[in-house]
């Protein structure tokens, strides 16, 4: 038995190559080694476990680092750019080599560098023109797929039938694919993250896995989720792109603004969507428009759903119940509403119907602005 570890403390373990390799990439050999070790030195169990806890704490604290993802699309694009630089270099060197006498090595290297720099610049400019998002959006999906196919194996699935079709992804997340819609993913799916590419309409039910964020690339937008159910509509015919959340939370952002992964999604063009919210991407104006879905439904995962029965109930309580049941934000001034009371019992009324009844009763009005319910009132007399 290796005696190196006889006097190890918590910090010694957590900074030890062998301990860390076992936890980060365990092998049969490392498992045997540590099992034997703990049998030999049972009094080290506490330190060993504390080291494990500390290790998990460090990993948690490094989440934003470990989740800095290079999207597959960007990876393919960068490889394309590198390949073109090398091609340009290979084509160029023959000329340079045959024309230059090999006498001044120093100047020659300088020349090479400059030539390479100029070529690289030209390639960047060319690359930019090729990759500029096309406002017509006609061939967006096809373009993306052919770029991906140059670097990895792409699995494509098209629903050619007239009925929606349920299709399972490798991690058993499901895609309800509408007719004439297509979904694809590369061999890298479910390795560091889960990226799918969509053309058409689909409702996705994503298996929660915080370690492997799920991305949907659909025309000009990217939707990022950790585990949820939502619908994406993105046809190549130039119509607007929409994302609707049925459960959970998703972030939607524009695809030509590159994503940096989990915590640094570009803020200016990112939209956070909660259940009952819907975002429409206006392809002409390149703008997001956040709305409430037409018929908000109460959330499926709320533990104790409010009863919506009030006898001399406070309006404030009603609005709080709305927030809880529908996951919709209600903006109001609690001081103005302090004296507003009403009696009502709702059963199957829709959200707008409930709001109508209560607002009329207490002499207030409501508007839906930017997916929030905004209450306007002058207050009630005590």
């Amino acid at each position: 038995m290796d005696s190196t570890y006889e006097h190890f403390g918590t910090v010694d373990f957590v900074a030890d190559d062998r301990f860390l390799r076992h936890h980060l990439a365990p092998s049969a050999e490392s498992t045997v080694f540590w099992e034997e070790y703990l049998l030999h030195y049972p009094h080290k169990n506490t330190e060993w476990q504390q080291a494990e806890e500390l290790l998990n704490a460090v990993l948690l604290g490094l989440t934003s680092y470990s989740r800095t993802y290079l999207s597959e699309e960007e990876e393919a694009r960068l490889l394309d750019r590198i390949m073109r630089t090398t091609e340009a270099y290979d084509a160029g060197t023959h000329d340079i080599r045959t024309h230059e006498a090999p006498v001044k090595p120093l100047r020659q290297t300088a020349w090479y560098r400059m030539a390479a720099a100029v070529v690289a610049l030209a390639v960047v400019a060319a690359g930019y023109m090729v990759w500029r998002p096309k406002t017509s959006g006609k061939a967006h999906y096809a373009e993306t797929i052919s770029a991906l196919e140059s670097t990895s194996k792409v699995t494509r699935h098209i629903n050619n039938s007239a009925e929606p079709e349920l299709y399972y992804l490798p991690d058993s997340s499901s895609v309800m694919l509408a007719p004439q819609s297509e979904v694809s993913f590369t061999a890298a799916y479910n390795q560091e993250n889960r990226s799918v590419y969509l053309s058409g309409k689909a409702t996705l039910d994503v298996v929660p896995n915080a370690g492997k964020p799920f991305f949907v690339y659909a025309n000009e937008i990217v939707t990022k989720v950790l585990g949820t159910k939502f619908e994406v509509v993105a046809f190549d015919d130039g119509s607007d792109v929409t994302v609707k959340v049925l459960n959970g939370k998703v972030t939607v952002y524009q695809n030509n603004v590159r994503n940096n992964g989990a915590d640094v999604a570009p803020k200016q063009s990112a939209v956070l969507l909660l259940p009952n919210q819907l975002v429409v991407f206006d392809r002409k104006a390149e703008l997001f428009d956040k709305r409430l879905v037409e018929n908000p439904v109460s959330l499926p995962d709320v533990k104790s759903l409010p009863k919506f029965e009030y006898e001399d109930g406070f309006a404030v309580r009603f609005f709080e119940d709305i927030k809880k049941a529908y996951g919709v934000n209600v903006v109001y001034n609690p001081e103005l509403l302090a004296n507003c009371q009403f009696s009502a019992a709702f059963s199957d009324e829709s959200l707008p119907e409930k709001l109508d009844v209560v607002c009329k009763t207490i002499g207030a009005s409501y508007e839906i602005i930017d997916a929030q319910v905004v209450i306007t009132t002058a207050g009630c007399k005590p």
């Binding site: 910090v11 470990s66 290079l70 940096n260």
Partner: protein, 198 residues
């Protein structure tokens, strides 16, 4: 990094003979980690990091007839990327780049119990608290723990990337762990104390 090293070495050798497929395979194996590492060094500009990765790979291709197989391909690429980034930053003559690493380390404040309490109160989750605490470590220690815990590099490889010997690389991680453990115990203590008095 664990994986299939022999395979990787074969591909690298193929690359040196001018095989583009092997070149693309090496790129595919390492680009995600290079991007992550590059972004941790200069988080302000993704464009800049991507340019630097491009330059690293372009240079490997151009110099391939003079290159050999590195001891460790992952740390070789990390070093190349870091050098490229530092080279370009120096050319822009950023004044703060002239503070040497050692001096920088000396200027680092030791967090007080009060700081920890503030961090604890301002953090909405355990993840946030830990992110903040790690953010209080000296930059070299942060870099070392990222390489050790996320990239799973051993101390020899980390030493290569940070240009220090293996023992110093180990010391960086060890000191970071000592501090972090102390802070976490302090945070736990303050948390319990807070519960009693609230």
């Amino acid at each position: 990094m664990a994986g299939a090293p022999t395979d990787e070495v074969t591909q690298w050798k193929e690359l040196l003979t001018g095989n583009k497929e092997a070149y693309a395979a090496i790129y595919g194996l390492h680009v995600k980690a290079m991007y992550r590492y590059g972004m941790s060094l200069v988080s302000i500009s993704e464009e800049f990091v991507l340019d630097c990765i491009h330059d690293v790979f372009a240079e490997i291709w151009i110099k391939r007839d003079r290159l050999s197989v590195p001891d460790n391909i992952r740390s070789y690429l990390f070093v190349a990327l870091k050098n490229r980034i530092l080279h370009l930053l120096k050319r822009q003559e950023r004044p703060h780049m002239f503070v040497s690493q050692e001096h920088f380390e000396d200027l680092w404040f030791e967090s007080s119990a009060e700081d920890i309490l503030t961090q604890k109160e301002e953090s909405a989750s355990r993840e946030e608290l830990l992110t903040r605490l790690i953010g209080q470590l000296p930059p070299r220690q942060q870099e070392a723990i990222r390489l050790r815990f996320v990239e799973n590099m051993d101390y020899q490889e980390i030493g290569q990337v940070l240009e220090v010997n293996t023992q110093s690389a180990h010391n960086l991680v060890f000191r970071a762990m000592e501090k972090l453990r102390g802070w976490l115990l302090a945070a736990l203590f303050l948390f319990q104390y807070g519960l009693i008095w609230k």
